[in-house]
């Protein structure tokens, strides 16, 4: 049905473009030089007013149809069926009716449900046809109104360009809308979570056991949502990753900028960048398949007990992923140091190593720090590697050979297979998500500012 609606609208838009253009030729008797705007603009003007309003009407209709039909459905149910039910139970009933209407019948639905399902189906059909009719009406109205305006003096180009401007502005506002959407959706769910679990218990509690169902009478006092071990686990793994990646990335950048000849550089730089292009799920599998068993058997030979999902394995693999970030940011920063500084140092007789250590790195330090901060934010927010290679149990430890869990692991495990947002378990994921978003946002803003300031300094 939807496909038919959209195809019809598309065909109508194309047709109205042709109608508009023909009309423009007709009003000037086939001499387009007498028009203010070229005929294509007249066509585009008509097409825009036919297609865009109808398209938006369909979108709004689709967004509202579900909730409206639900409300109608609940009101149409006989009172004895709904009396004494709380909203969650009514939701359950509605979804049962819907699944019966869709033909997925489990067990024996009672007569009321079956009747309601029939009702629901017929309403759905009515709504679809009504939408189709409204969209057609909107398109036709647009066609009738705009076609009449076409004349030799009509400034169709100006109108079309105004419409284009509005479209372009709304497209660039999507970035702001996305950020707003993230903040609002995380805030709303996180506030619902903090209604049930006090923020103090969340931010300062030492015990994280979200999978254990909390009894009603026990309420939130059990303290099972203390996120400190989750935060420390995240920091431990991210710290290991940075510890592995920063020296490697920095040394590679130094070699590539200062020692390598351009041919070598042209080969090696893309190879390093391949590391950044590999999907993280691949790194996660690599950690599970190769790195963790290798570490475990190495630990066995020297008599040490390394957990199969140790923080070390996850952190080390994450470090591999981050190397190209550090190396390309350091590369840019070192390259941005003005030639005069480098040559001044050489002129005083310094070796390359001395120049790098005493001149280039201090000058490039802000840029490198910016890169490290961005890499840190990447490491904290990285999900798949830790979901596959790190642990699920929150443990308050700084031992890299033990299994720890991270914020992102908890978000994914709490939400996989769960869509009901009414228990602290799923809501906790949004609280963690909010913390993650805020922390990475601060790191990003800070890092971008450093990098930008530093660039301005030398430009």
């Amino acid at each position: 049905m939807l496909t038919i609606v959209f195809a019809t609208l598309l065909a109508l838009t194309a047709a109205s473009y042709i109608i508009g253009r023909r009309r423009a030729y007709a009003v000037v008797g086939g001499a387009p030089e007498n028009l203010h705007s070229r005929p294509v603009y007249h066509g585009a003007f008509v097409a825009a007013w036919v297609g865009i309003p109808a398209f938006f009407l369909v979108l709004v209709w689709l967004a509202l149809q579900g909730p409206v039909v639900d409300v109608l459905l609940v009101q149409s149910l006989p009172a004895e069926k709904t009396s004494g039910l709380d909203p969650a139970q009514i939701d359950l009933l509605v979804s049962e009716i819907k699944s019966v209407a869709a033909g997925n019948i489990f067990g024996q639905p009672d007569a009321i449900v079956r009747a309601a399902a029939q009702q629901y189906k017929s309403w759905q059909g009515i709504a679809q046809w009504a939408m189709f009719a409204c969209a057609l009406a909107a398109a036709m109205t647009g066609l009738a109104l705009t076609r009449r305006r076409i004349s030799a003096a009509f400034c169709a180009r100006h109108s079309v360009e105004r419409v284009m401007n509005i479209i372009m502005i709304s497209c660039s506002l999507v970035a702001i809308l996305t950020t707003l959407g993230i903040v609002i959706s995380l805030m709303v769910e996180a506030l619902r979570f903090f209604d049930r679990v006090s923020p103090a218990a969340f931010f300062f509690g030492l015990n994280w056991e979200p999978q254990i169902p909390i009894r009603e009478d026990q309420g939130t006092a059990s303290g099972a949502f203390g996120a400190i071990p989750v935060f420390t686990g995240t920091l431990l793994i991210a710290g290991i990753a940075l510890l592995a990646a920063v020296p490697t990335g920095l040394y590679s950048a130094v070699y590539l900028t200062e020692y390598a000849n351009p041919r070598v550089r042209a080969v090696i730089k893309p190879i390093l960048e391949v590391l950044a292009g590999i999907p993280t799920v691949v790194y996660g599998f690599f950690a599970v398949l190769t790195v963790a068993p290798a570490m475990r058997s190495f630990g066995e030979t020297i008599g040490m007990d390394i957990a199969p999902n140790s923080a070390l394995a996850a952190g080390a693999v994450m470090g591999i992923m981050i190397i190209p970030f550090i190396s390309s940011f350091s590369d840019d920063a070192i390259n941005a140091v003005p030639k005069s500084m480098r040559e001044g140092s050489y002129g005083l007789g310094a070796t390359k190593a001395e120049t790098i250590k005493n001149v280039l790195l201090p000058a490039a330090l802000p840029g490198i720090m910016g890169g490290v901060l961005l890499a840190a934010s990447r490491a904290i927010g990285e999900t798949m590697i830790v979901v596959m290679a790190a642990g699920l149990i929150a443990r308050l430890t700084a031992n890299p050979f033990e299994a720890v869990t991270t914020v992102t692991v908890q978000i994914v495990t709490l939400l996989i297979g769960d869509t009901e947002f009414d228990n602290p378990k799923t809501l906790a994921a949004f609280a963690l998500g909010l913390v993650l978003f805020v922390v990475t946002l601060i790191l990003n803003v800070f890092a971008l500012r450093i990098v930008q300031k530093y660039r301005e300094k030398y430009e």
Binding site: N165, T179, I271, L275, P279, L415, G433, V445
Partner: protein
């Protein structure tokens, strides 16, 4: 430095031993840094190599599939040619397969033999018969997949036999050997045991009824007093007591005393002492007879390993030998299609506005900061957004490529906007000015002149953004695109999986066969990524104009 300067004048210092030593040290430091840099690059490339090599090593076997040639009589008594879908194909396939092993008797053994063939084989036969209804009454020869353990066995991924003893058991035995109490007698490894021949455990008038076994064990345990002796009993042969019995029968006066007796060791330890490696049947298989049946198929030449087309044309399955990527590839295609249709036009429109029209004011600054930040927001947060807004608020269907594509398009948008702005910036002002000079409006300048020139750059950025989106996993997990779905989706509203989420669910599966399938799926994903990036590089080199 300063004290040497005071000690010697520059002329004296220059060329002196001390100066040479210092210069050499400084140059050595320079070399050291250079080698450190080379080492770092080498390490990074080595790690990349290990990653790819380990994926290829485990994944290449999944590109072929072990199959058995099976003659299946399609009796009219079992299959109704008019309703071929209703026949009992499980029985037909089972009987045809059992016919290969006339020597196997007994229900348990036959059931073990059945397990060599994939349990999905009946569906393959059913589909074949439905497609070729005229073959009923004839005997057809089909190639059917073996079940996972035997597929792995045939490919040599897992052995049919494994070492019988654990490292700990061997360690225990070695302590015994180092005490020089193990020797060979009558071609059997024996151990010398100090056994206290307890009169209470033996009836003096009837020597046949003694608890010789427990006497030997007690004596033997004294070797392992520090270790906790329970496991040590398994080192002795089951007939160890008989050796003591023979000794007591020969030396009746030893009752009540401690005697040094040599008792035989268990077969596995006997083999180790003779320098062999004792083996046992791999616990993945039911019995040695099952493996023998499989070997007989191998010897008769009925097995083959053709290219595994099922990997590309089947959808997901609980059975590794039938699981394929078709559903995931189609799902990824729909997801990327939605992502492209949303993010490409929107990204270009936003970039044109920001680059060409926007005044530098608070709002455009805000937009710019937002775009830069969105590019660095963790992907799992976008998943949370999709879950809360698209699924929770708007009520879109779960697991649908539509929602996946919408979420990914929000992540791809910043990439496309940034690439498009860079491409627009690279168009020289002379083109704009010439167009404006002949009377084009600003919109016409951009649409007719700037955008076509910038298009290769924009497309390159878009393809790179889409390649990133193809590998993105976490947001898709949160909106349920890791569901178990056994058919390819027919549209953007049907439940689907994507390649990376399929990799994630296979990596989580316990069956051995999914390890190589996961690696193979990763190789397929990497293949797509390499292809997309190659197209991007090609576009850049072929069409991008340098001004």
């Amino acid at each position: 430095m300063s004290d040497t300067a005071t000690a010697k004048s520059p002329a004296e210092y220059w060329g002196s031993e001390e100066q040479k030593r210092k210069t050499a040290r400084r140059h050595a430091a320079d070399k050291r840094l250079q080698y450190c840099g080379l080492g770092a690059i080498g390490l990074a490339i080595l790690l990349l190599g290990i990653l790819v090599a380990s994926l290829i090593r485990t994944g290449h076997v999944a590109f072929v599939q072990t199959k058995v040639q099976l003659e299946i009589p399609l009796d009219a008594s079992r299959i109704d040619a008019k309703k071929p879908a209703d026949a009992n194909y499980r029985l037909i396939v089972r009987n045809a397969f059992r016919a290969l092993f006339p020597n196997v008797k007994g229900n348990k053994a036959l059931r073990n033999v059945d397990r060599i063939l994939s349990s999905e084989a009946r569906f393959i036969v059913r589909d074949y018969v439905i497609a070729n209804a005229d073959m009923v009454r004839k005997t057809v020869t089909l190639e059917l997949a073996l079940s996972d353990p035997f597929d792995q066995l045939h490919k040599g991924v897992i052995p049919s036999q494994v070492e019988a003893l654990t490292l700990r058991e061997i360690e225990l035995f070695k302590t015994l050997v180092s005490r020089n109490v193990v020797s060979i007698e009558n071609d059997r490894a024996v151990v010398q045991v100090d056994a206290f021949i307890d009169p209470k455990k033996i009836l003096p008038d009837n020597l046949a009824f003694g608890e010789y076994g427990s006497i030997v064990k007690e004596g033997f345990r004294s070797y392992f007093l520090q270790r906790g002796a329970d496991t040590s009993d398994t080192l002795l042969a089951p007939d160890a007591g008989d050796a003591l019995k023979a000794y007591v029968e020969a030396n009746l006066d030893s009752i009540g005393k401690t005697a040094q007796v040599k008792v035989p060791l268990a077969g596995d330890y006997d083999a180790i002492f003779k320098g062999k490696v004792p083996m046992k049947t791999n616990p993945r298989f039911a019995s040695p007879e099952q493996i023998a049946a499989f070997k007989s198929l191998e010897i008769r030449g009925l097995l083959s390993t053709p290219f595994n087309w099922e990997l590309f044309f089947n959808s997901d399955s609980r059975f590794p030998e039938q699981a394929g990527l078709a559903g995931a590839i189609v799902g990824s295609f729909y997801t990327l299609l939605v992502c492209f249709l949303i993010s490409f036009p929107m990204g270009i429109a936003a970039a044109i506005y920001l680059e060409e029209f926007a005044l530098t004011n608070r709002i455009s600054d805000l937009i710019e900061v937002n775009i830069n930040n969105l590019a660095a927001v963790p992907s799992v947060v976008f998943g949370l957004l999709g879950l809360a807004v698209f699924l929770g608020f708007f009520g879109f269907p779960r697991s649908a490529p539509l929602v996946g594509g919408m979420v990914l398009s929000l992540m791809t948008l910043p990439t496309i906007i940034i690439a498009t702005r860079a491409a627009l910036k690279a168009v020289p002002p002379s083109i704009r000015e010439a167009a404006l000079g002949v009377g084009a409006s600003r919109h016409q300048v951009i649409l007719h002149h700037v955008l076509p020139v910038a298009m290769p750059g924009i497309l390159t950025g878009t393809i790179i953004g889409l390649a990133q989106a193809l590998g993105e996993t976490a947001p898709l997990l949160l909106i349920g695109m890791n569901a178990f779905i056994t058919s390819a989706p027919g549209g953007i509203l049907e439940p689907a999986t994507a390649l990376p989420t399929q990799i994630f669910s296979w990596a989580d599966s316990p069956e051995r066969g999914f390890v190589s399938r996961t690696s193979a799926a990763i190789l397929v994903l990497l293949g797509f990524l390499v292809m997309m990036n190659a197209i991007a590089v090609f576009l850049r080199q072929r069409f991008e104009t340098k001004w």
